[in-house]
Subunit: 327 residues, 2 copies
DNA sequence: ATGAAAGCGCTAACAC
DNA sequence: GTGTTAGCGCTTTCAT
């Protein structure tokens, strides 16, 4: 069995409260006593049982993170940010993989509720009513989803699209396809919003395609459609799709920097895996994770600043070139 | 505040023990009583506080998982397996990102120890003594590391290398380079072992290069060395490195399926990101995560089967071809 | 089949 | 500055 506070108390010849204080409010115990307590605790390898502590304080020191898919590099980056920030605050993260299923999502939030101080819900697939219900059972911070009254961390994808469209427009592209991801995606709607606003202003015609699955295969599928519509550039929902597009274009003999420009989202370059210099809109995923945990830890969050917007940035590489007719 | 067992008891007009039993040993309470209790619990949205439960039962229902880097697709796949298996067993996973730092690793194991039923330590960077110490403070299952007396899940990379070497040898390759990753990697040592055993048997000369950082950049660096040594094929420590090699070879004008064959490990195809048909040794990462949690949950594990070996498999794609001199 | 009560490891009044 | 004590929400004897 693990070593308890009582054994430390006995060893240091003090009461349990003194031991407790030595750990939680050190300045309240005599330096000499504290030294002795800490010393004994060290020797015994004592570490306070956080569950027991939580039971009385009401604060668990745990923060929950729910992602639709851990294996998706987008979310693992978010997760990394959460874990890093949590550790700084000496908190621990509870992870749940919702397997892209809204029902599982709701379920795990319920299961976690009691054992965490708050939950970061990433790109939740739930409907509004569910989300509002969940926000009632535990402090929530939404990532990539915006619900009235619920704190959230948002990435400015609309602006990312604007940057991309501006860039393409400046190069001379006049018809660009947008390959949508899942219809329920908040980020997807934002991008569409950005697209519709930016396209006219930059004299480009937006061809809206989709929805497609946000996967490599989805990109393959989308590429054929884009080709059929005679665009000179495509904006893919994410890097995975962009990769699929690239692959399909290659297979159909369409030279990518020359005949068609491709822009992706969710830059995964961090893993060094961007296989060709694919132009992308960089989403600050790790920063978003940090920010979300941050809001959870910051008590005042709920009252004042309910939304945290993170900027996105277009990273231009060699795969965007002027269309053939302009060159 | 959350709804407690007392409120349910009051609502259902029974004692708390009955409520408790209705949840933990349903067959011990009268069907009618149980129905009423569950009904009230449902209405109130009651969910037992697992921390409190753990305090008395000694079992927390939590599984700790420590990875060197969540953002590494290899580990996020493992993590996914862990999360999935944990959920099946109605357990929750505690995640810690050790940031590739052995000290942090030891630290988080200590911090987690009390609040979990066991810990999965992935590719631990610690030295043997540390690991043995950690095994004493919490039930541990090692992944990708083998320590006497500590349960572990291992992937048969040596056999993977054997398959690769056999394949290359059969195609006519006579000199193949092995690009090592971090010197402390257990998997790396295993691969080397497999290589040294398989090379002579297949009439191929193994050129051992490295160590290199297990990254894209590491691959770039390694490619030049491999080129200088006049090999016709390379075995890269992992896919990231393999990608780096590919990239560098392309930059130096070496045609990849034709002038040089490249084989990677840690197949990341699951994310649809294998950019070119790179031949790889598939590591069953998700299965490994499942297996690890499985061993933690299975009480008997510690006594009987201390090691679980998972098979690896060579996935041949078009990038392995006979060397020029054979064609 | 059910209730009463003890206690898991800890913190937070409340004494001294 | 330190000790005593009463719970936190739950399970688990031990009665009944």
């Amino acid at each position: 069995m693990a070593v308890t506070i009582h054994e430390v108390a006995r060893g240091a010849e003090v009461s349990v409260s003194t031991v407790s204080r030595a750990f939680t409010v050190p300045e309240m115990v005599h330096p000499e006593t504290r030294r002795r307590v800490l010393q004994v605790a060290g020797e015994l390898g004592y570490q306070p049982n956080r569950a027991a502590r939580g039971l009385v304080t009401g604060r668990t020191g745990n923060i929950g993170v729910v992602v639709p898919d851990v294996a998706n590099p987008f979310f693992s980056a978010v997760l990394k940010g959460c874990a890093a920030r949590a550790r700084e605050a000496r908190h621990v993260v509870f992870l749940a993989d919702a397997a892209e299923d809204p029902r599982v999502e709701a379920e795990v939030v319920g299961a976690m509720a009691k054992q965490v101080d708050g939950i970061v819900l990433c790109s939740p697939r739930e409907d509004l009513a569910q989300l509002e219900r969940l926000a009632g059972i535990a402090p929530l911070v939404l990532l990539n989803r915006d619900v009235e009254g619920v704190p959230s961390v948002l990435m400015d994808s609309a602006d990312g699209v604007r940057q991309a469209v501006e860039h393409l427009g400046a190069l001379g592209h006049r018809r660009v396809a947008h390959l949508a991801g899942p219809a329920t995606s908040w980020a997807g709607k934002e991008r569409l919003r950005g697209l519709r606003a930016a396209a006219p202003a930059n004299d480009v015609e937006a061809v809206e395609l989709g929805p497609f699955p946000p996967t490599f295969q989805g990109g393959v599928q989308a590429a054929d459609l884009a080709l059929a519509r005679g665009v000179t550039a495509v904006l893919a929902f994410n890097d995975l799709m962009a990769l699929g597009v690239l692959s399909r274009l290659a297979a159909r003999g369409v030279a990518v920097p020359r005949d068609m420009s491709v822009v992706g989202f969710d830059d995964i370059e961090m893993s060094g895996m961007t296989p060709e210099p694919l132009t992308t809109v960089r989403m600050p995923m790790e920063a978003a994770g940090r920010a979300a945990v941050d809001m959870l830890l910051d008590e005042q969050t709920t009252e004042s600043e309910l939304q945290r917007w993170l900027p996105t940035q277009l990273i231009v590489r060699s795969t965007t070139t002027p269309p053939a007719e302009v060159r």
